[in-house]
Amino acid sequence: MHKIALALTLALTASLAGAQAKKTITIGVFPDLDSVVKAALPGFNKKFPNIEVKINSLAYADHHNALTTALATGSGANDVEAIDFGYVAKFAEGGGLVDISKAPYNAGQYRSRFVAYTFPQAMTDDGRMVAMPTDIGPGSMFYRTDLLQKAGVKPTDLNKSWDSYIAAGKKIVAANPGTFLIPDASEVEGIMIRSGLKPGEGLYFDKDNKVLVSPTNPRFVNAFTVAKQIRDAKLDARAGAAFSSDWTTAFQKGNLASEVSGAWLVGHMQNWLAKDFAGKWAALQLPGNSFTSYGGSFYGIPSQSKNKTEAWELIKYLTTDANQQILAFKTTGAFPALRAAQTAPLFNEGVPYLAGQKARQLWRTAANRIQPIDVNRLDPVADQIVADALTSVLDGSKTVEQALSEAQALIQRRAR
C-alpha cells in the first residue's frame, strides 16, 4: 500500500518536474529553410534537451501572409519566425517583433561576426533591431563558357565595365544566333542603382526622407541609359522577372549567355533550371566593380511569443554557431551570413556544376564587399514606380528624363 502510494507520488513529481523543464517552441519557416532547420534540430536538441522545437512550414507567400496577419491581430505567431529580406523592413515597423538589440538579447555583441551589410538590413531608423541574419545572397555574374569561346570573347571582357559588357554581348549574340546576353535589361538597372551610393543615402530616399529618384541623379540616369542600350541592341530576352515562364524557358533551352543573380542560383540551375548545361556555366564578379546582394533570410521573435528565452537560444544556435551555418550551406546551399562559417574548407573546394570552379571564394569576397543600404518604409512603393518608369523607357514610350521626373513626382506624392 505504502509502496504504491510512494510510487505514485514519485511518478507524479517526476512528470511535474518534466513538464516544468521541457518546453515546446514553434518556428515558422518556408522552403528551403525548413530543410535547414530540420537538419539543425538534432544538434540543437543535444545542446538543449529541454527545448522541443516544432516546425511549421508554409509556402513562401503564405508564410509571410500568415505572419502579417499574426502581427496585425497580435496572436497566432510562432515563437521564432523566418523572415525573407524583402519583408524585413515591413515587419520592422511598429512593435510586432522583439527588439533584440536590447537586454537580455544584446544582439549588437555579434555584429562583428557577421557579414557587414546584414545587420543594418534588420535595423530601423530609431536603432531597433528586429531580426538576426542567417543566410545571404552575394551577387554574381554567371556566363556560358562555350558561347563566349565561340564568339572569341574573354570572360574579363564581360565584367570590366558595363560598356565592355555590352560590346562583348553584341559579339556573343552575333556569333550564337538565337541567344540572348541577359534575360532582361532591367536586371542591369537593378545592380547599377545599388552601386555608388553616397553616405546617408538609401536606395530611393536619403536619411531625411528626401526622394533621390530624379532626372539629375547620375545613379538613376546611368542605370536607365545602360539598360536602354541593352534593349536597343536587342541583347535581352525581355523575360521580365526571374522565375517567369519565359525566363525559365530561356534557361532550359540554353539561350542565355549570361545572368546576374545571387550565388544561390547555382542550386536552381543544377537541380532543374539548366540541368543539361552542367559544366558549361562559370561565375564572375559583377561588371563595373559592383557588389550587390540578392535577398537573404532572417529570424525574428514576435513580441507576442511566450517563450522568448528559448526562442532566442534557437536563433542564436541557427545563426551564430559556425558548424550549424556550414551544415545549412551543405543542406541547401544557403550562403552563411556568419563570417566564421565562410572559412570552412568547403569554401576552397570547387563547385561541380561550374566545372569545378572555386566560385565560393568569389562569393565570399563579394559578400564582404557589399555595402549596407538603409531601408525605408516606402521602398516597395518607390521600387514599383521606378520599375514602371524603366519599362516605359525600355519600350521607347518615354525618354529617360521624362520617365525619371514623372517617377520622382509619383514617389513624392507618397512620401509625406
Binding site: L67, T68, T69, L71, A72, T73, G74, K90, F91, E93, G94, G95, G96, A237, R238, G240, A241, S244, S245, D246, T249, A250, K253, N255, R377, P380, V381, Q384, A387, D388, T391, S392, D395, S397, L410, R413
Partner: protein
Amino acid sequence: MQARIPTVPERLPLRARWDNFQRRYAPYIFISPFFILFAIFGLFPIVFSLYLSFHAWQPASGLGSMTFVGWRNFTDNLTDPTFWQSLKNTGIIALESGIPQHLIAIPLAFAINMSLKRVQGLVTALYFLPYITSVVAIAVIFVTIFSWQYGVLNVVLTSLHSLPLIGGLFPAENINWLGNRNFIQPAVASVVVWRYVGWNVVLYLSGLQAIPRDLYEAASVDGASVWQQFRYITLPLLRPIMFVAITLTLIGNLQLFEEPYIIAGDSGGIGNMALTTVMYMYRTYNFYSDAGLAAAMSWLLFILIGALTFLNNRIFGKSRLSGSD
C-alpha cells in the same frame, strides 16, 4: 377603500410553456446559422473595411497603430494617376471582354438549343469547362501561348506568313504579346472571353428553354426563316435573362483580378496596362502595406459598380422587360 388584490396570472404547465417557446423562437434558432455566418464573414468585413477606409494602418504594426485620417484616403486615391489608370484599364478590358462574350454566347446557345438535342448536355459541359478550370493551369497555358520567343501563337502566325496570297496578312516577326502596350489588354481580354463564354451559354440556354416551343412551330408554319425566328421570337423573349447575364458580366468584369494577375503578375504588365483596380488594391495592401488606402479604393470601386449597375438597370431593366409590344 378596498385594497386591490393583485391578480396572479395562472402559471401555465411546463409542457404548454415549452410549446409556446418552441412556436415563438424555434424558427429563429433554425435560421440563425446563416445570420451568424453572414455576420462573421459578410457583415463584419464590410463594416470593418468601411471603418478602415478612414484610417491609416500598416497591418504588420498591429491593430494599435491605426490612426484616424478622415477623408484623406479617398482624396489620395482620387488624385493618384495610377488609380485612374487602373480604372481606365479595367474599363477597357471589361468592354473588350464583355461585349464579345455575349455576342458569341447568344448565337451559340441558340444553335445548341436548335440543333443539338441529343448531345446538348455534353456540349454545354464542354463549354462550361473553362469556367471551372484551375486558374493556375489557365495561367501556365496562356502564358505559354502568348510567349514572345517560345509562344505557340507566334509560331503559328509566323509560319502562316510564308503562305502564298494571304501570307501578307500575318506577321513576319514574333509579336511580343505581353510586352507590348497595344497587345496586352486584348490578350488578357481574350482569356476572360475564353473563360466566361461557357458560363453565359449556360445562362442563355436556360433562358431559351423557358421559351415555349409552339411559338417557333407557329412561326415556321407561317414561313419564318431561322433568322426571323431568332430576331423576332428569341431575342425579345430572352431579354430578362440577357439583363441578368449582362449585370453579372458588368459586376464581374469591373472586379477583374485573376486573369490579369496570372498573365501579368504583380507588375501589372507592361506600363501597368493590365493593372486592374482590384489588382492595384491588392498591391496597395500587400506590397505597400497601406490597408486604409486599399479599403478606400474598394469603396470607390463599389460606388462605381453601384452607379453602373443602376444605369444598366434603367436601360435594360424592368421597365423595358415587359415590352410595349
